[in-house]
Symmetry: C2
Subunit: 424 residues, 2 copies
């Protein structure tokens, strides 16, 4: 059986990604850069044949690079370019490809200049950064970020730093344009859309999608991304116009079929979608949290521009905070306990009236691991929603660890507000 892209392989350019660092193979750091690169390369019409993570070991680096050069059209190498002793990539590449390192004069003068301004730094360790394999071209002349390109036997190899934000900047600003120029017209047309779904399992969505006839050019993938499920829809073809028509048809079918269970797509988050709805309906919003401990507020304010609809919130972790800031009576807390529909209701009402928001929600529950009882086990959560003259309270029982219960609660609460705004 051939790989799924075998029938395209004269057309789609293939790449491999090699991430280097003992911090990755010892599992101390999660490799996020390879996935980021794969995502952007894929969207630019390239396929990733494989991604590898290996330690700071010259022979392994050389082997991986040489194997990749035999079977793919370009290689992206990240990590091991820094000034410290465990950064061995440049050396390994020089050895593997028979290209002796030589000083890059421009880099050298940049480093010398930097050192004059910061006289407490040692010269030697930074000088290392200026020695690159023969034929290397720096990716970002004049910048302090390491990173270079080699064209080896007509195939581009890109070397980027492992530091995520530097790697991302160089990938987007330097690698993608250079690759696109190099392989101009040899990429396929790809349309990919991710639908973000909350409130249905992977299998429930699979069953629903199987009922639609999407045709052969549409590839569907189901991915549980806690607390959501992501549905990936990919349409590929040679001709841009035909592919686009196919894609639009498929997207429409899927959207009609899954309806409001799709809360967003691609880069959207529940908080950004809710933000758009609030902006459109000119409503303000505030949040009284307890067991989510600020998470909902944090999610809302992760969205740039959220200050135009999000007023803020109170995290009333201690009961005294519920009394002082939200107007919950001590006697009520004594009678029914902090985790109760009555307290959820008062919290939402108190938050709304004092903050003068149009809509307020309240959360009270037990995120665990401690604090559960037989009557109110860990995962018990009450969510209150106050708007106009009404306050609704819903009871939930979530499962999982503390992290999972907090995130499931936050997503559920934001989704309640979203559904309220969609139906009013």
């Amino acid at each position: 059986m051939l790989p799924f892209w075998a029938n395209w392989c004269n057309r789609t350019m293939l790449g491999e990604i090699i991430a280097i660092g003992n911090e990755l193979t010892s599992g101390r750091i999660t490799n996020t850069t390879s996935g980021f690169a794969a995502h952007h390369l894929f969207e630019a019409g390239f396929d990733i044949y494989a991604m590898h993570t290996i330690g700071d070991t010259p022979t392994l680096i050389g082997e991986a690079l040489k194997r990749a050069l035999k079977r793919v059209d370009f290689v992206l190498v990240t990590g091991g370019l820094g000034p410290t002793d465990d950064d061995l990539t440049t050396e390994a590449v020089s050895e593997a490809l028979n290209r002796p390192t030589m000083p890059n004069l421009e880099l050298l003068s940049l480093i010398r200049k930097h050192l004059e301004e910061n006289s407490d730094q040692p010269v030697g360790s930074l000088d290392k950064l200026a020695w690159l394999p023969e034929g290397a071209e720096t990716l970002n002349p004049g910048s302090k970020m390491a990173g270079f390109q080699l064209i080896h036997r007509d195939k581009p190899i890109f070397f980027l730093p492992g530091i995520p934000h530097q790697m991302r900047t160089l990938l987007v600003e330097q690698v993608l344009p250079r690759l696109a120029t190099w392989y101009q017209g040899r990429q396929q047309t790809n349309y990919q859309r991710i639908y973000k779904i909350f409130g249905k399992t992977e299998q429930e969505i699979n069953l629903q999608i199987e009922q639609i006839d999407l045709g052969e050019d549409v590839t569907i993938g189901y991915y549980p991304v806690f607390p959501d499920v992501h549905l990936s829809v990919i349409i590929r073809g040679d001709d841009q116009k035909t592919t686009l028509t196919l894609a639009e048809k498929a997207f429409l079918l899927i959207e009609n079929h899954l309806g409001a269970f799709i809360y967003g797509r691609d880069q959207e988050t529940m908080a950004s979608v809710l933000g758009k709805l609030l902006t459109k309906q000119q409503k303000t919003f505030s949040v009284a949290e307890s067991c989510t401990g600020g998470l909902i507020s944090h999610l809302m304010t992760s969205v740039a521009g959220s200050s135009s609809y999000y007023l803020g919130g109170v995290t009333s972790y201690a009961n005294s905070m519920k009394e002082t800031y939200l107007g919950v009576e001590p006697t009520l807390l004594e009678q029914v306990g902090a985790v109760s529909p009555e307290v959820a209701k008062t919290m939402a009402q108190g938050m709304r009236s004092k903050s003068k928001a149009d809509i307020s929600i309240s959360i009270t529950g037990i995120a665990g691991p401690g604090g559960g009882t037989t009557e109110k086990p860990v995962g018990t959560v009450f969510i209150g929603l106050a708007y106009d003259g009404t306050t609704d309270v819903q009871h939930f029982l979530f499962s999982g660890n503390r992290y999972e219960i907090q995130h499931e609660t936050a997503q559920t609460a934001l989704n309640l507000v979203r559904n309220y705004l969609l139906t009013k």
Copy 2:
């Protein structure tokens, strides 16, 4: 040149990790499971030779598995075991290793029983889960989690689901004990410690460490993990007692040398370390946030048991919230603006007096991308610290995007409280 472990290769057992899924090679999902596995395997005394990420492509899966079996002692494969059409791992393994799939009767009866209880689910798609390659042994009999083990030519191969929490559970509860038994006495002794450092760059730490003589058995790694730098210290040896003595000596030297710049180690976070200090000194804490938007509160309450010292906080995103909940005068806001030392001071004092916490902090600043001016550019942040009769305010200018400014601010604020508690 030989790989760095070549001189141990008769002793240290080597493994490879293969993660499968188009969602990974297309970059839609970040692979977190391989790193988790590497970390735990490393701590258990095994070395990871390489980690690979490949698509749901049977030939590639087979190739990667066969290559790994030639050069390492065990293989861990994750992903592609689910019920949907794009889950192809079992099939690929069966083909590559010449082991026809056969139904596992126990699994089959478990699935049938599950289906009787959930009659709306289709039989066929789940039945697939019960067909395993010849010789496979399920890892967790009686559970709904997929996962099996194959011993192929005397080498164990483990197949785990790609869903992170299932994979983690099976790795820790099933794979590690099975591997330890299989290769009993053939692992080396490893001691690893991660020091978490805030307020120094990778290179500054490198320079300081180079001044200490740690000896040849100590391997040091420097890793910027925004906003921290992590320092990894590994000591390896054959004899447990000698290695432990060496490790303890190295740890002590490093700790003395870097002092309070080390805020924690291994699994500790700034919030968990601060929590321990607050508990020890029997102090309560509350937070008035603005540009961090609930992040600090979220970090504090991510720690289990935080309710014993963390009272809660106010996210006063809108100016009206600063007035209502924190007692900031409207005239003050008009005169000096919300992002000012005066407002930071009033916020911290208002938070402390109303919440009755022993210590309160306040944050006001501009996280961007909008809102910056020449006088107060994006990244301008004031942090107030109120305790006893005093309120200190500090001025910062952080750089980066919204995410980075919010996280750098949060870490700086928590570190200020930590330093205050350390010196009092």
